[in-house]
Structures are given as structure tokens and as C-alpha cells.
Symmetry: C2
Subunit: 251 residues, 2 copies
């Protein structure tokens, strides 16, 4: 991808890239989609560049589609990274090395780049991780065990996770990370995983119910020995409303 972009550099906005932190939830783990190539011991976030006639959000949507096969998924810009030293020539060289590109060939990329960070919440079971070419692997990695990332991508990942934690109180993120039907304990586990700590069961139930976005279904979870817990789904209309109101309700 980077190779083709460099070959067509005239069609791209100079000095601008996107990095995508794609979250999924599975086996009670919050996971992030990472890339590794055969050229490096370290990993990278999926990312891309911005065509001159393409919006920055569209550019991120293309990265997401390319890496997961999914469209119409929850995607949010969370910060732009542009410290003066974030990509010195040495650091840019790290990225070129990662993709197996020589510095002559990659001249364009040795300029200063500012990168726009997006995070996405995807349904783990629907996403199909897609490498670009045979030198890459793309994997879901537990957010608690993120390996060494090239350049400043760890900082970008950390900021995405921090933003996700903050937005837990603003938007019902569970909607995008859980399957259509779920139990309250599963929802609580998701919140605990994102926040990185245990929550009181009764307090959680009270708070999550008070948002008014849950619909109790006339169905119980199957394959459970006894006292099968009730299944719930999100009330889509109410969810959209809460999204609009955001935090205003707090006061």
C-alpha cells in the first residue's frame, strides 16, 4: 500500500496520514487489530493516506474496509498527532523498513507527516482481518498485551483507549462491540474490560438501565446450566437519541 501511494504521490495530500485503532471484543477481551511484516520485529496500526479529492474521514473508512472487509461501522476521529519530532528521518525510515521500502524509493515519506487518529468499534465475529500482500500478517491482539509498535504508534493506541474509556459515559459503545443479543453480565464484562477494573453488579445495573437504551427480550440465554440469564438488545432509536444528547444529561 505505502509503495503504491509513493508511486502515486502527486494524487495525495502532502504530509498527511491516518492511523486506525480498530477495537473488537471477544472471549472477554478487548482486542486491537495490528499488523506485522516479515521485515520487522515490531508491529504497526493499520493506516493510510488521503487522496487530494477525498475527505479525511473517507480515507479512514477506506482503511477500515480494506483491513476488516466491513462497511458502515462506528468510526470516530479522536486526535491529530503532529509533534515536530514525531517523524524525524530516522523514524520515517523505521516505517519504510517495516514495509520493506528503500529510502531512495521512499523519499516522499521522509518529509514530515502529521497523522489523524481514528478509532473504530467492530463486531469481532463479522470482521475478517485482511493482510495486503504476502509479507504481512494482520491479527487481533489483546489490548492488555500489545507488543512493541513502530514510531509513535503506541502513543496513538494509548490515546485511543483513553478516549474509548471517556466515551463509555457518553455513548453506549456496547452497541457496536456486542452481538445483537446479549446478557447484562456480558455487557458488564465489556465495560469492565474497557475500564480495566471490576464494577459493582447492582450499581452497574442501575446506571445502565437508567440510560434507557436496553430492551429486555422474551428470551433467555441457551446453553447455560441453570438460572439462564435474560437476553437484551439495544433500542436503536433511543440509542441515536442518547448519542445526540451526549453528556448534556449529566447536569
Amino acid at each position: 500500500m505505502l509503495k503504491e501511494v509513493i508511486a502515486n504521490q502527486k494524487n495525495y495530500q502532502p504530509g498527511l496520514s491516518t492511523d486506525c485503532v480498530i477495537f473488537g471484543f471477544h472471549d472477554n477481551q478487548l482486542k486491537v487489530l495490528l499488523i506485522k511484516t516479515k521485515f520487522s520485529e515490531d508491529w504497526a496500526l493499520p493506516g493510510g493516506f488521503v487522496l487530494l479529492d477525498e475527505g479525511i474521514d473517507e480515507a479512514a473508512v477506506h482503511v477500515l474496509k480494506g483491513r476488516t472487509g466491513l462497511e458502515g461501522i462506528f468510526l470516530r476521529q479522536f486526535a491529530t498527532f503532529g509533534q515536530a519530532n514525531r517523524n524525524s528521518i530516522e523514524k520515517s525510515q523505521q516505517v519504510l523498513d517495516f514495509y520493506g521500502i528503500s529510502s531512495e524509493e521512499g523519499q516522499w515519506f521522509l518529509n514530515r507527516f502529521v497523522t489523524i487518529g481514528y478509532y473504530a468499534l467492530v463486531d469481532f465475529l463479522k470482521a475478517v482481518p485482511q493482510p495486503e500482500g504476502k509479507n504481512e500478517i494482520v491479527e487481533w491482539i489483546d489490548c492488555n498485551a500489545v507488543p512493541s509498535l513502530i514510531v509513535d504508534l503506541k502513543e496513538i493506541f494509548d490515546k485511543a483507549l483513553e478516549t474509548l474509556r471517556m466515551e463509555l459515559n457518553q455513548v453506549p459503545v456496547g452497541y457496536n462491540l456486542l452481538p445483537e443479543k446479549f446478557t447484562i453480565p456480558e455487557l458488564q464484562k465489556l465495560y469492565e474490560t474497557i475500564l480495566g477494573r471490576q464494577l459493582d453488579r447492582r450499581n452497574f445495573l442501575r446506571k445502565i438501565t437508567s440510560i434507557g437504551i436496553l430492551t429486555k427480550l422474551d428470551e433467555k440465554k441457551s446453553n447455560v446450566a441453570h438460572k439462564a440469564p435474560n437476553l437484551y438488545s439495544f433500542d436503536k432509536d433511543r440509542y441515536e437519541e442518547v448519542l445526540k444528547i451526549g453528556l448534556h444529561q449529566g447536569w
Copy 2:
């Protein structure tokens, strides 16, 4: 400013600008600092460009200092704007016209620009609005009466205000917008002004007190006929702590 940047374009990151929404609070009004020139009926936000050896946050700090004379003030990146059509040649021309620059002279600026939005909270009484040259005026305008702004600056202003509203629940923004000593009714008025609606007095008192960032002073407001209200200040240490915790406390 734009004229000098264009003359030194080689020193600047191509296609990247900053726009600053500078908020102040006075006379029970939330105000924003806007610029007008003699070349246009419309107004603009203070903004700038990014030197190649300067971080994006530093660039915004320079704009703030240049426009208010203040340093070390609360400044936060809130979004990056980069729709493909946000600066068509016609729209870029609007900006050149605003600053009285011809299209020949302003060629560099007719390229596509992505802009990073920052908002700042300043002490109204300490800020000294500073025009650049004699063709400009810089004024505090009531946020409820923002005049027509050039290009997409209204969208950027709206997003800043929306973010400020959201962050009311995350960070005690009053700290930056109020004088050192204030009364609870003054603090409530600030919140009401930002949120654009009235709040219940007792609920507000309960919520703001529960954050634990207020210190009740052994002093009452002077120049008040009778039943002078108590003065308060913010507990700086506790404030920093709450900033770190952010919304985590919500669950």
C-alpha cells in the same frame, strides 16, 4: 500574517492550518474572540500555520499568544477538519479576499488545506485582543450572536462549543473562565451559559460539591446589599487529580 506565511511558504508544513476558538466569560455571557478586516463583511476565527520545525500544539499556542497576549492558558485540540470540498479554490479565494491578498500572490493557499481546531478558555479580564496591522479589528462576541463567518469557520465554532459542553462533565472548565474567587451563583451562571439552559439550584450545588474541587473561603462577596454570598476558589491539586481521572469516576 497570511501574507508573511505565503512569502515564507517553504518553511511551513504544506496543506495544514490551525483554527482557534478562544472562549471568555464576562457579564454572564460566553464570548468568542473573532476577527474582522476592512476587506470583508464577514468575520473569521484566529488561525495560523505550522512551521516545519514546530509541533501542531505549539503552533496553536503561538496563535493564542499573538491574539490575546496570554501564555500558559488552557488549550485543547478538539477536531481536525478535512472534507474534500472544505476549501475549493472559490472558498480559499474567500480567505485571500478576507485578508486583502490577490490570487496570484496567494497561489500557495489555493492548495487544499486541512485545519486542526483548538479551543481555549481564557480569563476575559486578562486577555488583550490584538489585531495584526491596521486593517483588522479583533473583538469579543457573544456566542449567542455570532455573525456570518467565512468558509467553514461556523462549523468549526459550533463543534468547539459542542465539545466544551461535553467536557463540562469531564473537566472543571470553570477554573479557567472565572476569576480566582467566585460565588456558587456565578459558577452556576457559567454552566448555564455554556449549556444554554437553566439548572436547578440545589441539584447544581450537590453535583458541583460532590466533585470535591471547591474550597469555601472565609470571605463573602462585597458590594452586595444583604445576605452576601460566600466566596469560593478551586482546589488546584484536587482539580489536577480530577483532570487525570476524567470520566472514569462515572461508573
